[in-house]
């Protein structure tokens, strides 16, 4: 009994195998035929079905521009300290240096002379409008990481600025030299915070004799990279 069952199964197995073998040889024959056909009749160009991907540098998103808004205090020589809002645009040329455009505006206060003498007015309201712009070269110094707690670190660096520009104040435009520096912390790739101190100095002859005025500005701001 057992033997018969074994024999039936064996036969079935052999038949199955032989069928498998015959189909596979068939397939092999088919391939042979097709190869022979193409070899004789026409030459087919080899066409690999592989996706070709060139690396294109320009297609990689670059983030060298930085735009920002800053808010702080400027002390306008002889005319008190006022709050100032400024805008900056910078282009990062290398990791070390950048070119920066700055524009700031505010309104000057009263000079001590005007305050003490009572009714003397040196400037009209329009002349009291103060604005300056500058084009500056910036150098990054002491790059590194700043830690907040144990696990959170932000990249940061100090920078130094030197530039030229102009100051519009008391009805005239004066050529201005900018010297300054700051500290920048990057929260991620595109958002950063600045704290900066700048000196804008220019020659002014408003109060009788000519002199060099130093307008010191301290400000905090946020910038985005794109």
């Amino acid at each position: 009994m057992e033997n018969r069952i074994q024999r039936i199964l064996l036969i079935a197995l052999v038949m199955g195998f032989s069928q498998l073998l015959s189909t596979s040889t068939f397939a092999a024959q088919d391939e042979d035929d097709s190869e022979r056909d193409t070899g004789v009749s026409n030459v087919r160009v080899f066409d690999p079905q592989v996706e070709r991907r060139e690396v294109d540098r320009d297609a990689i998103d670059s983030e060298n521009w930085e735009l920002g808004v800053h808010y702080g205090i400027i002390s306008i020589e002889d005319f008190g300290s006022t709050e100032i809002t400024s805008f900056s645009a910078a282009y990062h040329v290398t990791e070390d240096f950048f070119v920066s455009l700055n524009y700031g505006e505010t309104e000057a206060g009263l000079s001590s002379f005007e305050r003490l003498s009572g009714n003397v007015v040196l400037l009209t309201d329009e002349q009291r409008q103060y604005s300056h712009y500058s084009v500056a070269l910036g150098f990054n110094l002491l790059p590194g990481e700043g830690f907040m707690g144990k696990d959170l670190a932000f990249t940061s660096s100090f920078y130094f600025l030197t530039g030229l520009g102009s100051t519009d104040f008391a009805g005239d435009t004066r050529s201005t030299v900018l010297l300054g520096g700051g500290y920048q912390v990057l929260f991620n790739d595109w958002l950063s915070m600045h704290m900066s101190l700048k000196d804008h100095f220019y020659d002014i002859e408003l109060l009788g004799s000519a002199k060099t005025a130093n307008d010191l500005e301290i400000s905090t701001g946020f910038t985005i990279f794109f």
Partner: protein, 256 residues
């Protein structure tokens, strides 16, 4: 409706915020597959925490592994390893990587050859305009390697007046392939003179001007060059005599 200055300021702040959000969303929207991929061919590359040599190395990717190029900042590339680690690699380290089809990935660094074949240039120059401090912003289009059309906006601030002028110049450089490449230029423009408030009888003036000049471009590296030039301006005044003004300036330019 007129906006006062503080309103304009807050509008700008608002727009900056919107832009920053938009940028963020756009970044998130980019699919993984969109990033280009290279294979490390150096024994290893070091990943820095930020785009600068001063930021610490925190990870290493060995030869044979692939990295995705996410973005770049100056000469640094932000890459993503196969396991998802993000870090910054200098472009020199990627110069010997392979693309997926096995070819060397050549980073297209700007060089002197591209300087000769540049299409556009922008720059800033500073110097002396007949004793007054002058600052100029320029933008130029290189029609051929020899001929450039340029628009220049200048502000000269002297002891007695604030002068602004705009010029359209045509420049010719006979030897564009030289590292120190000289040029000649001619141009025309308009000049606006605003005397200082402390002067009593002065009036604002608006005149036309013509100019000619010679200069030198000095290629430094990458996409940067220095420009120095001398200009002679003739201001066509409404008075009997024209004004002749000499100007010297030097500056920094970028080409694209």
């Amino acid at each position: 409706m007129t906006l006062n200055k503080s309103e304009i300021k807050w509008h700008l702040v608002f727009f900056l915020t919107i832009i920053s959000f938009a940028v963020n969303v756009a970044h998130a929207a980019i699919e993984e597959d969109k990033y280009q991929q290279v294979e490390v061919a150096e024994p290893f590359v070091e990943l820095h925490t930020g785009p600068g040599r001063g930021y610490p190395v925190f990870f290493i990717i060995e030869r044979g592994n692939t990295v995705k190029l996410i973005k770049r900042k100056t000469q640094w590339y932000k890459v993503k390893s196969q396991k998802g680690t993000l870090g910054w690699v200098h472009e020199d380290k990627l110069a010997r990587t392979l693309t997926t089809n096995g070819q060397t990935f050549e980073i297209d660094k700007p060089d002197q050859q591209q300087f000769v074949q540049r299409d556009f240039e922008t720059g800033v120059l500073a110097g002396s305009f007949e004793g007054a401090t002058v600052m100029t912003l320029t933008g130029g289009w290189n029609w051929t390697p020899n001929i450039t059309a340029e628009l220049a906006f200048s502000q000269a601030i002297g002891n007695v007046s604030d002068i602004q002028f705009v010029n359209l110049n045509l420049m010719h450089q006979p030897f564009p392939e030289w590292r120190y490449s000289p040029y000649v230029k001619i141009g025309t423009g308009a000049i606006f003179t605003q005397p200082n408030a402390t002067l009593v009888q002065a009036e604002d003036r608006n005149d036309e001007m013509v100019n000619a000049g010679i200069g030198l471009r000095i290629y430094i590296s990458r996409q940067f060059f220095i420009r120095a030039e001398y200009n002679s301006y003739t201001i066509l005044t409404s008075r009997n005599d024209n004004d002749e003004v000499e100007e010297w300036k030097i500056g920094f330019s970028v080409f694209y």
